[in-house]
């Protein structure tokens, strides 16, 4: 690789020789940035103020594709990394801790602020806008004309939990997801454990298998998480007959989409008839766009982090399959694990506040 000059890396496409600290050129940053730019530009063409234009969708996909091209170059350069050139901190306060570990923790500080901002939005709206159920119970909405019949909607906050926590079956996808994330946190520390075992205490092939199987199951659980999320948001599911009696005789569990819990829900009322006033026969009509936006964007941001995790795990499972994780390089799993546990931590907060309360 480096006959001409000691610190020369002729190919910016990878793979790299990581055994010294010289600059390693890479096409990846440029390509990824361009991809992100195309994606954001075209997405704004595909949707404009909620109006959809399908002709931009191919370009949105091109944007994503370009980002992936950059990512593949990045991975190609990383494949040869075996942990030998992992510098450690030289001074206080992080003395002797690996640089990337410090970087990961610092990155998590930023992630904490991201989710704090989202939660702040939620807290401000949750406390600032009157709850729909409270308004319904107060009853003056009939006189004010906020009824389905009059077609006038009242602004109020309708937490998604009002739909989700109505029955065990509605909670099911969220609850299974909670368990899926906790299990995946466990599988990834197991992968780390086997990667860390000193050479000699475990057969190398057994190590390789254990690691990629544990990483693979983490990958699977993350995919399960997103699948269930899609079912809960858009698809809904059908119960087997023997469970229907536990659900008031209904076999279909509607998705939030079917329930009309949407970011453009200007005229929303609960489909189970719980906003029905028995005296006048009127049904309350609410404008819940803000509540729905808060719900979808916060849980969506979390889901996006899970999706990023899946992308990372895909690569790591592959690298583990090729035997790339040895005790020297086990820390790489740990760094990804930190991110992954953090995503789990966020879910520990998102789940009660968006799904249960």
């Amino acid at each position: 690789m480096s006959e001409d000059e000691e610190y020369d890396h002729p190919s910016a496409w990878g793979p790299h020789d990581w055994h010294h600290g010289a600059p390693h050129n890479s096409w990846s940053p440029l390509i990824m940035s361009i991809g992100i730019g195309i994606f954001l530009f075209m997405l704004a063409g595909a949707f404009s103020n909620g109006v959809y234009d399908a002709s931009y969708v191919p370009m949105v996909l091109v944007g994503i594709l370009v980002v992936f091209c950059g990512l593949i170059i990045w991975w190609r350069q990383d494949m040869s990394f075996d942990g030998h050139y992992e510098p450690r901190a030289r001074g206080v306060p992080f003395k002797n801790i690996q640089i990337r570990k410090v970087a990961m923790w610092i990155f998590l500080m930023s992630e904490m602020m991201v989710f704090t901002s989202l939660f702040t939005t939620y807290i401000r709206y949750r406390t600032g806008i009157e709850n729909c159920q409270t308004i319904f119970e107060r009853g003056d909405w009939v006189a004010q004309g906020y009824t389905v019949e009059a077609g006038e909607a009242i602004n109020c906050f309708e937490p998604a939990s009002a739909l989700i926590s109505t029955s065990w079956f509605h909670i099911a996808p969220g609850a299974i997801n909670t368990f899926a994330l906790i299990i995946s946190s466990f599988t990834i520390v197991q992968a780390l454990r086997y990667a860390k075992m000193p050479v000699g205490t475990i057969e190398e092939d057994v190590r390789r298998k254990k690691i990629y199987r544990y990483l693979g199951s983490t990958w699977f659980l993350a995919c399960l998480f997103l699948t269930l999320k899609l079912i809960e948001w858009f698809v809904g599911f059908t119960l087997p007959d023997f469970l229907a009696e536990f659900n008031h005789g209904h076999t279909h569990i509607p998705s939030l989409y079917e329930e009309g819990y949407l970011i453009n829900a200007e005229h929303y009322h609960r489909h189970d008839g719980s906003w029905h006033d028995p005296v006048t026969g009127a049904t309350m009509l609410a404008d819940i766009r803000v509540s729905a936006s808060t719900f979808y964007v916060t849980t969506g941001t979390h889901g996006f982090h899970v999706a990023l995790g899946i992308i990372g795990l895909t690569y790591m499972t592959f690298k583990a399959w090729t035997g790339g994780y040895t005790p020297d390089n086990a820390v790489s799993i740990e760094y990804f694990g930190l991110y992954w546990h953090f995503v789990d931590l966020v879910w520990v907060l998102v789940f009660p506040f968006f799904y249960l309360y």
């Binding site: 610190y7 002729p10 190919s11 910016a12 600290g21 600059p23 390693h24 890479s26 096409w27 940053p29 440029l30 990824m32 940035s33 361009i34 992100i36 730019g37 954001l40 530009f41 997405l43 704004a44 063409g45 404009s48 103020n49 909620g50 109006v51 091109v62 370009v66 990045w74 350069q77 510098p87 450690r88 901190a89 030289r90 001074g91 206080v92 306060p93 992080f94 003395k95 002797n96 801790i97 640089i99 990337r100 410090v102 610092i106 930023s110 992630e111 602020m113 991201v114 901002s117 401000r124 709206y125 602004n155 109020c156 906050f157 970011i263 404008d287 766009r289 803000v290 936006s293 964007v297």
Partner: protein, 770 residues
């Protein structure tokens, strides 16, 4: 080499792919460049046909003011047949005046644009009325006609239709030379600057290696730059792009000043003015100041702490490359005439409304990428400074510039997620139609203000604190002694960093807030003066004990002290709520933040450029040109911004596209002498802008035939002066790392109580106390 060929064909392929990707985007810019429906009724095929002859009768060659003309538009030829159900259609656009419809066969699309209605489909000739403008204009018109094959019903899917177009012009009674479209001027200037930049860079490459000027050498050289992850190269890239956008922002400022030079001017319309000050602010802060700071940080921080590179070099390249791409997104609006018009603060609910220009979405998208870039930069610098210092360099032995970068990145890093989340909410509002800031859905526009300023206030300190670091370095070096009160300098910066998060409410005193919250913000904001004052007095005391060497960078640093102190003092008017209500949104605010941004940050960056340029390039800058630059810039800068204080106090409002004067006390008019003051300001703006070219010339002359710089031309003692100029890669010989010679060493030998306590919390380490 086979590998090389593959790389090259991949590059070509990528460029081709990008061209294919970007080409359709050119037509999908938010609005067309001219706003004219160029393709008329383009559902009738793409190519105009000769067989159709459009005709327009009744328009004069030279119009009379405000006269109304009856215009007949018609066409002949094409597949039109009197037996057809539908026979034709048209679209007429006249650049000035108004077009009125006469009957139901014609409908109006805009004041100056009409077309046929569905009823008008049945004929080949239509009548409208055009009223000429009341003043002199060069008028253009475009008529598009369609000859329809006869398909009945809803218009679309016509087969065999043909259309054609005719254009022409009408002259004014008095011949006029029209003022140029400001956007055309700006767009042209941007393109010209870009071309000049490319020519300059190519010339410098040619001059430094004249024998190697062919594609075989140039291609890899270019690829080496765009793929580089070396902190020095990335730093240079930041520097070039930062200076470029400083120029672009300056051009926009000049056009704003042309508009304001005389009262009642109409060079920029209200709408254009909004876009100009929005883009000016955004460009200057996010595309000029921050990249320039990153340029210095990239170059100097690893050298100062004796690190081989940043901790995560590829992420560093990523944070750079996000910036030009985001700049392209932000500037799409300029080239389409529909740039963001929200102000750099982008207040809700206007920013999510459909009235805000289409370019606003791209402005938001670009900002999201800048947030990502800043986050990556933050991770990188915080990690680098915390973990990669040379052996024995404790935190309290770091040079103050490194400290300032550390503090400012910490502030930026912690605050920018709030902005990012706010932007994503706005982006989603504008794109998929969520309702975070939609008023009638119950959305709360103040939430955006809160999120924005939670980031925005730390942000303004983010751009000034590195300047503090630069000034500390330069004053200490020029005074030939160690900085006075090193420890208090560090604590002052840390204090500014901490306090910056709890003062942001003073931007929102007029937006409606809890009174107790206002009170808290008032007190905390006043508190900011304390650490800042400590810094100013420390600098003065440093000079007092030393003996100054007057170099260009010394002059700039002294200029900084003066202008920044003035800016700081005018800033102290705002925390007082009552005072703020009066001064809010006036030119006093403009004066204040330009005194701190330009007099602080930009002066600081110029100081740093003169100070570290020999280190970066190995060439000395010309001191005479530097002094000339300082003198012209300093004088014109003060002439530019000082009068604005007075304008503001009397009541000239900021962000208004024009103003009116009156000799008497009239509501809404300014005193008569304000016209002169504004002209004075505008002239100084041009002088200040032009003075920067002295710097550019100085840089170019120096790069081409400057003297070679010694490793330590100024007598500095931090690590960057202990390696060659320019530094080799790796910066320091690995077997002979530099040893700390800084006079600040005494600090570590007498650790403070707080420091001792803090050290105990950290990893146990015997070497720290050495």
């Amino acid at each position: 080499m086979n590998n090389k060929n593959i790389s090259r064909s991949l590059v070509v392929f990528t460029i081709l792919a990008l061209a294919i990707i970007i080409a359709p985007a050119a037509t999908s810019f938010p609005t067309g460049v001219s706003g004219v429906k160029d393709s008329g009724c383009n559902c009738h095929g793409a190519i105009p046909s000769d067989t159709v002859t459009p005709m327009i009768e009744g328009l004069p060659e030279i119009y009379n003011y405000s006269e109304t003309y009856t215009v007949t538009v018609s066409f002949t030829g094409g597949p039109t047949d009197s037996g057809n159900i539908n026979q034709g259609g048209f679209n007429l656009w006249i650049s000035y005046g108004t077009i009125a419809t006469l009957d139901s066969t014609v409908q109006s699309f805009a004041d100056n644009e009409v077309g046929h209605t569905e009823a008008g489909n049945d004929q080949t000739s239509w009548m409208v009325e055009w009223t000429a403008p009341a003043n002199d204009k060069n008028i253009k018109f475009t008529l598009t006609t369609n000859s329809v094959n006869g398909n009945a019903g809803g218009g679309s899917g016509s087969s065999g239709d043909e259309w054609s177009r005719v254009s022409g012009s009408i002259s004014a009674p008095v011949e006029v030379i029209e003022s140029a479209n400001p956007f055309t001027v700006l767009a042209t200037l941007i393109v010209v600057s870009l071309v000049l930049l490319i020519i300059t860079l190519t010339y410098i490459f040619y001059r430094t290696s004249p024998d190697a000027f062919d594609w075989e050498q140039f291609g890899p050289w270019l690829a080496g730059w765009v793929t580089s992850t070396d902190h020095k190269k990335v730093g240079t890239l930041y520097l070039v792009s930062g200076l470029f956008f400083l120029g672009i922002g300056g051009i926009m400022a000049l056009m704003i000043r042309i508009q304001l030079a005389v009262p009642g001017n109409d060079f920029l319309t209200q709408d254009q003015y909004n876009q100009f000050f929005t883009m000016h602010g955004t460009t200057m802060i996010f595309l000029a100041a921050m990249p320039l700071i990153n340029a210095l940080a990239n170059w100097i921080v690893p050298l100062q702490i004796g690190a081989p590179d940043l901790a995560l070099p590829r992420l560093n390249a990523m944070s750079f490359w996000l910036q030009p791409v985001s700049a392209i997104l932000i500037f799409t609006g300029i080239f389409s005439g529909g740039a963001a018009d929200t102000g750099w603060t982008g207040y809700a609910p206007y920013i999510v409304s459909e009235t805000a220009h289409a370019g606003t979405t791209m402005w938001v998208a670009g900002q999201i990428m800048l947030v990502a870039s800043s986050t990556l930069t933050g991770i990188n610098f915080l990690t680098t400074i915390l973990v990669m210092r040379a052996k024995d360099m404790g935190l309290m032995q770091m040079p103050l510039f490194t400290w300032s970068i550390f503090i400012s990145n910490l502030m930026l890093f912690i605050s920018i997620p709030a902005f990012g989340v706010g932007l994503i909410e706005v982006y989603l509002d504008r794109v998929i139609g969520t309702a975070f800031y939609t008023i009638d859905a119950g959305g709360d526009p103040l939430l955006w203000s809160h999120l924005f300023w939670y980031f925005g206030h730390p942000e303004v300190y983010v751009v000034i604190v590195p300047a503090f670091g630069v000034i500390s370095e330069v004053i200490a070096t020029s005074a030939r002694r160690t900085i006075f009160g090193y420890r208090s300098m560090v604590y002052a910066m840390a204090g500014i960093g901490l306090v910056s998060f709890i003062v942001y409410g003073h931007h929102m005193f007029t937006s409606g807030m809890d009174p107790s919250f206002r009170f808290v913000m008032m007190l905390t904001t006043m508190l900011v003066a304390v650490p800042t004052g400590i810094k100013i007095f420390n600098w003065l005391k440093t000079m007092h004990g030393g003996s100054l060497v007057y170099r260009t960078h010394t002059l700039w640093a002294l200029g900084f002290l003066l202008t920044f102190s003035l800016g700081g003092i005018s800033g102290m008017f705002f925390p007082s709520i009552a005072m703020d209500l009066h001064l809010h949104e006036t030119y006093f605010v403009v004066a204040h933040f330009h005194y701190v941004f330009v007099g602080g940050t930009v002066f600081g960056i110029f100081t740093a450029l003169y100070y570290w340029f020999p280190k970066m390039t190995g060439k000395m800058l010309d001191e005479r040109l530097g002094t000339l630059h300082f003198l012209t810039a300093f004088v014109s800068y003060n002439g530019l911004f000082w009068p604005m204080h007075r304008l503001g106090v009397v009541g000239m409002a900021r962000r208004h596209h024009t103003y009116f004067i009156s000799g008497e006390d009239v509501l809404g008019a300014l005193p008569a002498e304000f016209a002169d003051w504004n002209l004075f300001i505008s002239i100084n703006a041009f002088l200040f802008f032009l003075s920067t070219f002295i710097l550019v010339a100085n840089i170019i002359i120096s790069l081409v035939r400057g003297q070679d710089a010694p490793p330590d031309p100024w007598g500095g003692w931090s690590f960057e002066w202990m390696t060659d100029s320019p530094p080799p890669t790796p910066s320091f010989p690995l077997d002979n790392l530099p040893v700390l010679r800084d006079a600040n060493e005494h600090v570590a030998n007498e650790p403070s109580k707080l420091g001792t306590w803090f050290n105990r919390l950290m990893v146990a380490d015997e070497e720290v106390s050495n």
